[in-house]
């Protein structure tokens, strides 16, 4: 049986029908993981702990206490701290870090929560800073469609693991596109919910006012199941919204408006002209436009809208995110945990050397930029000015949403690029984030679904941006598209997993 091709619901049904046990399912995926190490998708695998979780799940199933996710394996991005697996954020700084507690997301999905089985921790750009996974201190996770190409970042390992069938589903985090862009590059579905929906407790911090966790899976339906389990208020995260539980699955399979007509009748899709401006690769444009046509066939109407400050999202993001990072990463001092340099002559030199040797080049660049824009004399001109433009960007979205229900456009200007192609010039890499940054700045939910293939045989993603708390509708729309297309079912033919 090809269990790695099954949806979460199919796996759940197989588990409750006793067609397979959670232990067997876990062994199946651990086996695939062991045979595909060249993707570098996982940073830490502890079979004993995975099997322990699986046995607990099997007992739950036997007692008739299973929920819809019990016994299904999942992989966690290494930015979530875990008690049993190392938590490194793909940094040398945290090479052997063992957390005394589990992140809220891990806790909610694990044995004492939904009963899922953790398969291990996935590769990422160091501290989630990057768009290609090449900033990992442990080597990049490679694109399973073609290992000469990047997987995207920063949640590249999670995207690779799902695409190559090394886990049924994974968690990711998105600060400026880190769920959506690797999802697009690897041909999977990923959603970043509204800021504050999922607890950041135990998520190693990068830029706290932008960081948000979400699922990365094979379909919108699978992602909805996970989102239901991980969202909700957590008093241990002061930015967690005080909202009641939301049902992200409730609209799946339902028509947009009146039953009986076309499934997406009356849906108004805003198409921002700035997302199709110069710089967008032709084949990406064509694929996205084909997808929009499909939505029209399903009953939707496309409306031209404008998000005039889209280009400014790059400078705004690359001031705010480094500013917050420079503050968040000041905790790494080589004293309480983390890397400590071998040679130093005093306390200050110990701090400086530990940080200089423990952090990679991109992390140091962002700390320096962040420190600069927050320093005396520059704070108003850079940091405060960026926060003001952030409001203008967020208001532009609200103006657009008076005319439409959701926005759609590309996730990235091009499909995955070759390993090494953009790693020499940081600014060139930053420019690739143009379509994904502004939803983070505005705190809006945004997702990526597969919508085409490039000539090189690499996946292309469609981005859906919704208004605040409209995730259920976005997932409903994405699911309708997936019920009527097959892009999300494509998998790398030679997935590299040895027999």
């Amino acid at each position: 049986m090809n269990w790695h091709e099954k949806s979460l619901t199919e796996l759940s049904n197989a588990l409750s029908a006793k067609e397979i046990s959670s232990v067997e399912l876990t062994q199946y995926f651990l086996g695939r993981m062991a045979r595909s190490k060249e993707f570098n998708a996982y940073l830490d695998v502890q079979e004993d702990f995975s099997l322990r979780d699986a046995r607990a799940a099997d007992q739950k199933i036997a007692r008739g206490e299973a929920g819809p996710l019990t016994g299904i394996p999942i992989a966690h991005k290494d930015v979530f701290v875990t008690k049993d697996w190392k938590s490194t954020a793909a940094s040398k700084m945290l090479e052997n870090f063992l957390s005394p507690y589990d992140a809220r997301v891990v806790e909610l999905l694990g044995t004492n929560g939904a009963g899922m089985v953790c398969l291990g921790k996935t590769n990422m750009d160091e501290f989630a800073m990057g768009s290609s996974n090449e900033n990992s201190a442990y080597g990049a996770a490679l694109n399973p469609w073609n290992t000469s190409y990047v997987s995207g970042g920063s949640s590249g390992g999670s995207a690779v693991a799902v695409a190559a069938g090394l886990t049924p589903i994974a968690t990711g985090t998105d600060t400026g596109g880190s769920i959506r862009q690797p999802a697009a590059f690897c041909g999977i579905t990923g959603i970043k919910p509204t800021y504050g929906s999922v607890s950041r407790y135990g998520m190693i911090a990068y830029a706290s006012s932008l960081d948000q966790a979400g699922p990365m899976g094979k379909s919108a339906k699978d992602c909805a199941l996970i989102l239901n389990a991980i969202s909700g208020h957590d008093p241990r995260d002061s930015t967690s919204l005080r909202k009641g539980a939301m049902d992200y699955q409730g609209l799946i399979g339902k028509p947009w408006s009146t039953p009986g007509g076309l499934p997406l009748q009356d849906l108004r899709i805003g198409v921002p002209e700035e997302y199709f401006a110069q710089g967008l690769q032709e084949e990406v444009r064509n694929s996205v436009q084909e997808a929009l046509k499909k939505f029209e066939e399903l009953g939707a109407t496309c409306i031209a809208v404008s998000l005039p400050k889209t280009k400014l999202s790059i400078p705004v993001y690359y001031v705010l995110a480094p500013a917050e990072a420079s503050s968040n990463l000041s905790r790494y001092d080589g004293v309480r945990y983390g890397f400590r340099a071998k040679e130093y002559k005093d306390l200050n030199q110990m701090y400086e050397r530990s940080r200089s040797e423990g952090f990679g080049a991109e992390v140091k660049r962002r700390i320096l930029i962040g420190t600069y824009v927050l320093s005396q004399g520059y704070y108003d001109a850079y940091y405060l000015q960026a926060q003001k433009i952030r409001r203008i960007i967020a208001e532009d979205f609200q103006a657009a949403f008076t005319k439409c229900d959701v926005l759609m456009g590309p996730v990235a200007p091009q499909a995955a690029w070759k390993v090494g192609e953009k790693s020499k010039d940081p600014v060139e890499m930053y420019l690739e984030d143009i379509y994904t940054l502004s939803p983070n700045l505005a705190g809006l939910p945004a997702m990526s679904i597969p919508c085409g293939m490039s000539q090189q045989g690499l996946p292309i993603g469609l981005q859906i941006i919704g208004n605040y708390f409209s995730e259920a509708k976005m997932l409903q729309i994405a699911d309708q598209f997936q019920q009527n297309s097959s892009w999300h079912q494509l998998a790398p033919t030679n997935s590299g997993v040895k027999k």
Partner: protein
């Protein structure tokens, strides 16, 4: 950015850069600052900064909790990843000569 400025910035950042890195970093930071320079040309008169994105649509208040002990004493576990410790204490180089 001249060498002196870079070194000052590194100091503020708690980082140590060797002379070769300083030159390299200076060029890279210059490029990034050019990228973000566009912000200065935008008129933001009367615009309030947006620190928390959800504050755009909802009045948010500072989350406070009751001032009671919420965690057990977990000293041993909390110190598991300390690079150098001794009898439950973190060790650092001598601070006062």
């Amino acid at each position: 950015m001249n060498i002196e400025e870079i070194n000052h910035l590194a100091k503020l950042s708690g980082l140590e850069l060797d002379p070769h890195q300083t030159k390299q970093v200076s060029k890279e930071l210059e490029n990034i600052l050019n990228l973000v320079a566009e912000l200065q040309s935008i008129d933001t008169t009367g615009v309030e900064p947006l620190f928390h994105p959800i504050a755009l649509i909802e009045q948010l208040s500072q989350a406070l909790r009751v001032d009671i002990v919420s965690e057990d004493n977990n000293r041993t576990n909390n110190m598991l990843s300390a690079p150098v410790s001794h009898k439950g204490l973190y060790l650092v180089p001598k601070v006062i000569e």
